[in-house]
């Protein structure tokens, strides 16, 4: 059958498979209590972002003729207005566009690059592995926020550039985790068996290793999305994010530098804060539910703890992994 050798067919098939897996995953998340809340939130915020022009009662960039400045929440202005007379509710809705799209796109890109590089390092081993892992070492040592600031200074802070920079400095940690998983899978007997049947590197990578790390990747995408959301908000808060569009972090920055506290405009701070909190926790809830789905035997609270621990103590985990890897040096048989 000739068509089977067609690369396009293969790609289409693997894409379809990915979609099916994703679909199944979404169904699984939906059937999970926490996951459902997270999923609903993410979908809702995404929809709000997509249909922002139809939902926002005012133009969020508009500091115009209305002359309503610093008005508290009221029937006319649902969440009040800023010192400049912008409607905060509309800003919140439009802010979802930048914040959500950046974090989702970046999360997917990071998972993608992290996976490819991690798999390459883990499966190819030897020189490629050594080179990649040294690069990862360097990447992990460089402080992320400062380097992001330097790079935006050098190359501008356009939307695409932000995504590029976040991706550039996000893949390293993930690829290290993926690599260690690949090392485990690579040494399993089912991979050996596939190799015995003549399965090449490409076959093993696509059929065994990629599906093997996919759980980690899907969960990581969720957690990365949460992380990027926080990072983007922080960057915008420092006034270093994209200047053309409204984002939640930028709203907070403006609120802070325009004296929302001093003037008592608490709504200006609370609204974007809730936006960020809601989306970050939505992604986290999805992360929790995925952890529970992938490890069904673990107690719910334990899996939640596990996710939290991954978020807060990545390096330590890696250190342990390094030690484990050192334990298995040399390829001595373990009977």
């Amino acid at each position: 059958m000739k068509y089977k050798n067609n690369i396009i067919f293969a790609i289409a098939k693997s894409l379809l498979n990915t979609l099916i897996t994703l679909g199944q995953m979404i169904i699984k998340i939906w059937n999970h209590k926490k996951g459902r809340i997270g999923l609903i939130l993410v979908v809702m915020i995404s929809l709000i972002a997509i249909f922002a022009p139809f939902l926002a009662p005012y133009d969020p960039y508009d500091v115009l003729q209305r002359g309503a400045r610093g008005v508290g929440p009221s029937t006319e202005y649902f969440l009040g207005t800023t010192s400049y007379g912008q409607d905060i509710f509309s800003m919140l809705i439009y802010g979802a566009r930048v914040s959500m799209s950046i974090c989702i796109i970046t999360a997917i890109l990071i998972s993608f690059t992290g996976a490819i590089i991690g798999i390459a390092a883990g499966y190819l081993g030897k020189l490629p592995d050594a080179i990649i892992m040294r690069v990862v070492d360097v990447m992990l040592v460089i402080p992320t926020l400062p380097i992001t600031i330097v790079l935006t200074n050098l190359f501008g802070k356009s939307y695409a550039m932000l995504i590029f920079i976040f991706t550039l400095f996000g893949w390293a940690g993930l690829s290290r985790v993926v690599r260690s998983q690949v090392l485990t899978i690579k040494n399993t007997n089912y991979v050996k068996s596939a190799e015995l049947f003549g399965g090449g590197k490409w076959y093993v990578m696509t059929k065994h290793i990629l599906p093997g790390v996919s759980n980690q990747l899907i969960m990581n995408t969720a957690m990365t999305a949460a992380g990027v959301m926080i990072a983007e908000a922080g960057l915008s808060f420092l006034g270093l994010g994209n200047t053309e569009f409204i984002s939640w972090g930028k709203m907070l920055a403006e609120a802070q530098s325009s004296g929302a506290f001093l003037l008592g405009y608490w709504w200006w701070i609370i609204a974007p804060g809730i936006g960020i909190f809601a989306s970050v926790s939505a992604f986290m809830l999805i992360g929790f539910s995925l952890e529970e789905i992938f490890n069904p035997r673990m107690k719910s609270s334990n899996s939640q703890y596990k996710v939290l621990k991954t978020l807060s103590g990545t390096y330590i985990k890696e250190l342990f992994e390094q030690m484990e890897a050192a334990d298995n040096v040399g390829g001595i048989e373990n009977e």
């Binding site: 508009d62 115009l64 003729q65 400045r69 400049y84 325009s258 004296g259 506290f261």
Partner: protein, 594 residues
């Protein structure tokens, strides 16, 4: 047992919070000295004070208090007041200078009472060194000084073959051409370009350096080297000047700069008493305006050394001890179009701006009254076509105020072929749509927003492009902008320089968005070089209408300065037009309430 543990934990946490919380300093305690506390909003305080080379942030303010110039300029009476220089005169009056002599000679007498902060007198050697350095590019590598002095005097080689030897103000090669008598021991002669206004920067902008310290500067050890030696750094960090204040180095740091009054300062008040009543000044650094506002409300500072945003004015006035003074500023905010674009920054949109019809239409779309009432909350005033402020005697009163006329603007644009394509909101010509970026710092965001609204009505799209906080670095000099809002301040004292810097039509650079116009250039040059004062003013007035007609610097408004100050610690504040409440006069008048 477990209950105990919870209790223990709660106890520890609450103890921790209490320990930190109880340590509330009483604010009055921190005001132990009689200094004036000045809030300053900047990204941070510099650690070094090199008088001329620090052109950013608070450095010029502090430097000008530690160091002195030869004279100061009194705008109102149009005269030079003595500082280090006691008196000055033209050696030959300008209108009697022979035609073949290309310079003016100035004789300045130094105040023999003037001393450096270490007690040694200021001598002519200090003046010579200072001006030699200012004009010697090879020893003081800094664009700023060069620009300031560049227009003033060019020295060509002996045979006058046209080879430039040096440029800038310079002192006569002493002892050289002039005979010095015994009484002349405190006299300096200058040669300056045959431009009337040239003596202004000579007298009022160049801070005099002590020869005893700066004689180490050489071609090898440049004043502004990229790697200063320990010796030079010491001078920068421990400035010794002849001004009314000295820097207290030990008490100054990243968050605060402490200046102490010099009681041996040579200038005295009318009664022969100490001129500056304020014993000391403490500049306190705030990263954000809001922090400074909070500080003045709390009583941490007495005054904020910059204009306060309108949104806080009402809030500040609620406090009974805080007053807000509103005075007009010396700046005219002008919408500057980039019409003389260097090759590498050229874009189709910027090419369009060269079209005078488009510029005319843009001017007609601007409603000054609306801008002032909406974006400034009424805290500003209208400006005439010329870029001078209202009550100035150089203003051309015959110039009309800009009047908005959207119908005419649209008409002009239609006729010139800027059409609105189907399904488009904005005009375009030859496939280039009228979409311009206004590069500006975030402080002008609201103004730009209103300009967006106004321009939309004539089919021009305006996009805001943040240029950062440092305008000069970010866009002024690069020519990489479509439009910008630029504060322009023209007073007689610097009209020669600013006219050329802003308007002279030179081919080599497009800084400040200059237009190429030979007639204008000729007129500016005549204005600068005429030695007839009345003719000069006449030309200035003519130039204003010429510039206004070209419409590439469209005046928007003059915003008022709102200065916030506290009245409970010091009294005697003096408001000065253009500088607000924190100024030299206030410092000379303020007395501490008991």
């Amino acid at each position: 047992m477990k209950k105990n543990r919870i209790l223990l934990l709660l106890l520890i946490i609450s103890m921790g919070i209490l320990l930190t919380g109880c340590n509330q300093n009483d604010k009055s305690d921190s005001r132990s000295d009689d200094s004036l506390y000045v809030g300053y909003i900047s990204a941070g305080f510099p650690a070094v004070f090199m008088p001329w080379l620090s052109n950013q942030g608070i450095s010029p303010t502090v430097s000008s208090m530690i160091y002195s110039t030869l004279f100061s300029y009194d705008e109102e009476n149009d005269e030079f007041l003595p500082v280090l220089g006691k008196s000055w005169e033209y050696v030959v009056e300008p209108d009697q200078v022979p035609q073949d002599q290309d310079y003016l000679e100035v004789r300045v007498e130094i105040d023999e009472l003037a001393t450096w902060s270490n007690g040694t007198p200021v001598t002519t050697e200090d003046i010579y060194l200072t001006f030699d350095l200012a004009s010697d590019f090879s020893r003081s590598n800094h664009a700023g000084t060069l620009a300031w002095t560049g227009d003033l005097k060019h020295d060509y080689n002996a045979d006058r073959s046209g080879e430039l030897v040096r440029q800038g103000i310079f002192t006569v090669n002493h002892p050289g051409d002039y005979e010095f008598t015994e009484e002349d021991s405190n006299v300096v002669y200058f040669h300056v370009d045959k431009v009337l206004g040239a003596i202004t920067p000579l007298f009022t902008t160049i801070l005099i350096l002590p020869e005893q310290e700066y004689n180490i500067i050489s071609q090898e050890l440049k004043l502004n080297t990229t790697s200063p030696t320990e010796e030079l750094m010491y001078l920068f960090k421990n400035p010794m000047g002849s001004g009314p204040f000295t820097l207290n180095v030990d008490n100054s740091g990243p968050g605060v700069i402490v200046l102490e009054r010099r009681d041996d300062y040579h200038l005295k008040d009318d009664d022969g008493g100490i001129l500056y009543k304020v014993e000391g000044i403490k500049f306190i650094n705030y990263l954000d305006e809001i922090v400074a506002i909070n500080a003045i409300k709390e009583g941490d500072i007495d005054v904020i050394n910059s204009s306060v945003s309108n949104i806080y004015v009402d809030n500040l006035s609620e406090n009974e001890n805080v007053s807000v003074d509103t005075s007009s500023s010396a700046y005219v905010q002008a919408l500057t179009l980039n019409v003389n674009v260097p090759e590498k920054y050229s874009t189709p949109e910027r090419e369009l701006l060269k079209d005078p019809i488009l510029r005319e239409a843009i001017k007609l779309a601007i409603d000054q009254e609306y801008l002032i009432s909406e974006s400034l909350d009424g805290q500003g005033s209208m400006v005439r076509g010329g870029l001078f402020d209202e009550n100035n005697k150089y203003v051309n009163d015959t110039l009309p105020f800009n009047k908005i006329d959207l119908a005419k603007a649209n008409q002009l644009l239609d006729a010139a072929g800027y059409l609105v394509e189907d399904g488009d909101k904005f005009r375009s010509k030859d496939g280039v749509s009228l979409r311009f970026e206004i590069t500006s710092n975030p402080g002008l965001k609201t103004t730009i927003n209103y300009i967006q609204v106004l321009f939309e009505q004539v089919g021009i799209e305006i996009v805001y492009h943040e240029g950062g906080n440092n305008a000069t670095k970010d866009y002024f000099y690069l020519g990489d902008f479509d439009m910008t809002i630029q504060g322009v301040s023209f007073i007689m004292s610097n009209v020669d320089m600013m006219m050329r810097a802003h308007f002279v039509t030179v081919g080599y650079s497009s800084n400040y968005g200059r237009v190429v116009d030979e007639d204008l250039a000729a007129k500016v040059n005549e204005m600068r070089s005429t030695l007839n004062y009345d003719r000069k003013i006449e030309l200035i007035k003519e130039l204003q209408s010429d510039i206004a007609a070209l419409n590439y610097k469209i005046p928007l408004y003059t915003s008022s300065m709102s200065s916030a100050y506290r009245t409970d610690v010091f009294s005697g504040w003096v408001s000065v037009k253009g500088t607000g409440i924190y100024n030299d006069e206030s410092l000379q008048n303020l007395t501490r309430r008991q």
